[in-house]
């Protein structure tokens, strides 16, 4: 996360990663969020795709959100390091009609945390999204079950969305961006001054953690 040479320091660049099994609707979510469109013509994502959107949070803060849509097949996780680097927040996405995709959230989350290595894994701004609620009749993962999982993982916000019908998509992304920016203001305390080379750099760090 860095400020894009903007005088007001309010315009922040946020890198968001969308993770989840293949076919849960990651690309659809991103397109719905960024462009407000949905089609049935999406192709399977190979590697990763990328789109950005300027967001005004309405409280005087604005951000440029770079959404990274990743490939869902498990073996692409091994490319993660390149894509996840510098991520500020993450959407964990599953398909409410597919139990397996829900069960895999755990490993997506763990893998992500290992590769990104954030300072405080417990408070990393995740958002969990249960997509495809327009197919209510085929639901296989109950809201309760999903919420329990989110609560157990450090109160991750949970949203049920439909990228097709545009339900809750914006809310989910907005929450994620807000949380990411809240984190930023916390870390800003330490990054107010450029880091000089210090011999006692270690001390500096312990100070940081103590706060």
């Amino acid at each position: 996360m860095y400020n894009r040479n903007h005088p007001s320091r309010r315009y922040t660049y946020i890198k968001a990663i969308i993770l989840g099994d293949s076919g849960v609707g990651k690309t659809s979510l991103m397109h719905q969020y960024v462009r407000g469109t949905f089609t049935t013509q999406y192709r399977a994502t190979i590697g990763a795709d990328f789109m950005k959107k300027d967001v005004d949070l309405g409280d005087g803060r604005a951000a440029e959100v770079a959404c990274w849509d990743t490939a869902g097949q498990e073996r692409f996780q091994s490319l993660g390091v390149a894509f996840y680097r510098g991520a500020d927040c993450c959407i964990l996405c599953f398909d409410v009609t597919n139990t397996r995709s829900f069960e895999n959230l755990e490993s997506w989350r763990d893998e992500f945390l290992i590769q990104v290595g954030p300072r405080d894994p417990e408070s990393f701004p995740f958002v969990v999204v249960g997509n495809k609620i327009d197919m209510e009749g085929k639901r296989a993962v109950s809201q309760k079950r999903a919420m329990e999982w989110c609560a157990a993982k450090g109160n991750i916000p949970y949203f049920e969305t439909s990228a097709k019908k545009d339900i809750n998509v914006d809310e989910a992304f907005r929450t994620m961006v807000r949380n990411a920016m809240d984190q930023e203001t916390e870390t800003d305390i330490y990054s107010e001054f450029p880091d000089p080379i210090r011999i006692d750099a270690e001390d500096q760090e312990t100070q940081g953690c103590a706060c």
């Binding site: 293949s22 049935t40 590697g47 770079a66 490939a71 390149a82 085929k138």
Partner: protein, 550 residues
Amino acid sequence: MAGSTQLAHNSRQTSSTQHSAPSSQTVVSHAADPPEPKARMPPSTAHGTATKSESPDVSYVDRFASYTDLAAKSPPLHSHRSAPQLLQDSYSQTLENAVFYSQAIQQLRHPDTVAPRTRPGKEDIRQRRARNVTASREVFSLGLDFANVEHPPLPTQQAAVGGREAVSLGGASPRSARPVRPATRHAHARRIATRLLMRAGLSRIAIRVARPGPEPEPEPLCVDDAAEPDELQHLREERRKQVKHIDHYGFMHFDGEPARPASVPGAEGSEAKWQTLLGAFDAATLRGSRKVKRLVQTGVPESVRPRFYYLMTGAAALERAGEYQRLGSLGAQPIFDIIERDISRCYPDHTLFVDGPGQRQLRRVLRAYAQYNPQIGYCQGMGRLVGLFLITGLTEERAFWALAAVVHNYIPRYYMPDLGGLKQHTQVFERLLAERNPRLHRHLVEQGCDALMYATPWFMTVFTLSLPWPTVLRVWDWFAYRGTKVLFRVALAITDIASDHLLAECPTVAELLGFLLHIPPHTVDADVLMQAALRVKVSERHIARLMALG
């Protein structure tokens, strides 16, 4: 198109699918032919009228009338015959066909004798071109038939009909009719076919109707398409209505202009040359020839492409008869579920996969591959390769072998669970980029723009996801011919083309990737990209050296 397609298939069976009853004026249906599993909708006719198989190709009928006239004067042709029957045809029968063709061709050399009832529009011209392609293949396969049958002594009245023609075609003269040694037969066939093609001038004949045969029943193994939720089906229908164009290759466009066919200089004239080349030499010999190299770099004609890919990728050498069928009959694997999720997302904008049998073929090929190579199983990206083969017109079985050959010969370990090959190649690419364009490389590195971020879709799908289709085909002509090295040359060509823009207009990773992941199609026009790629000099030894660095 039914034509643009299965060369292999054609050369085996075409002769069985000629005009059925010569006397009738409206013979356009081939319902009496043996059901042909691989027949498919021609993309160029898939818009507008021809979405249903029963509507005959109208512009064809005009043309056909003249053939039927001619055919009425000629001896009856082989009709309703299966391929094996045809191969057992007598010398005289084949000779009759040769006579018929040569007459048809003679007549067509003078366009005034063929009076089309209506002036053809642009679409018609496109369709006609496709049919010409088909026709040229048929003539060639006829040449093969001609040389393949054992030559019994020729009955006298037959000799009277066809004797002179046969001689002038380079066939055995009726007086000297004697068995041809098998070794010489093939060369013989090529000679005949080439002459026939030369005579025809290749642009004036249209011999076969696009024949949308009955589609095969989906195999029991397949998941029924009806499993798709009604609503999504409905949405897809809606989307289909919004299609503005269907381009030459069968891609649907919802806005903007469709991709134009890449220019292939002199393609029409070189078809015969290509057919002769592919018939005469093996892959290694072709690869060693400078002349062929130049031909490849200017583009392979559409009609030749299926056979060219099949031969040059090494599929022909890999293929084992019956193996594909055996693999298809094996039991279900857990990975089939993962394959299933990508079937409808592979080419959602191509008619073959939306309306045609493409999805079913793709599913069968990918499943067979998972059985064939359990180490790889299935990996996203493979579907794009299979789709390319199917779209260019390889049969399902050959598409499978082509996939197996490309994965084995050109992009080894790309699709392994650790994506080892991909990682290695992107690393090599980054090193090559650093050597070739240090400024751009530095800029990319400084912005944290790793080659894996943008080159993964390039390499994993061998550019099929990233370049406009005419460019994809030109790149693939070259890739099928030359292999791995082409990946690097094309990737470097893209960065060459984009370099100025990336350095000047793309200050951060957002803009850089915005460009590299969605390359604007007009910047990578087929000719432009090919020329840029030809300027990139990378030796195989150098690549090997860089790979060894690990």
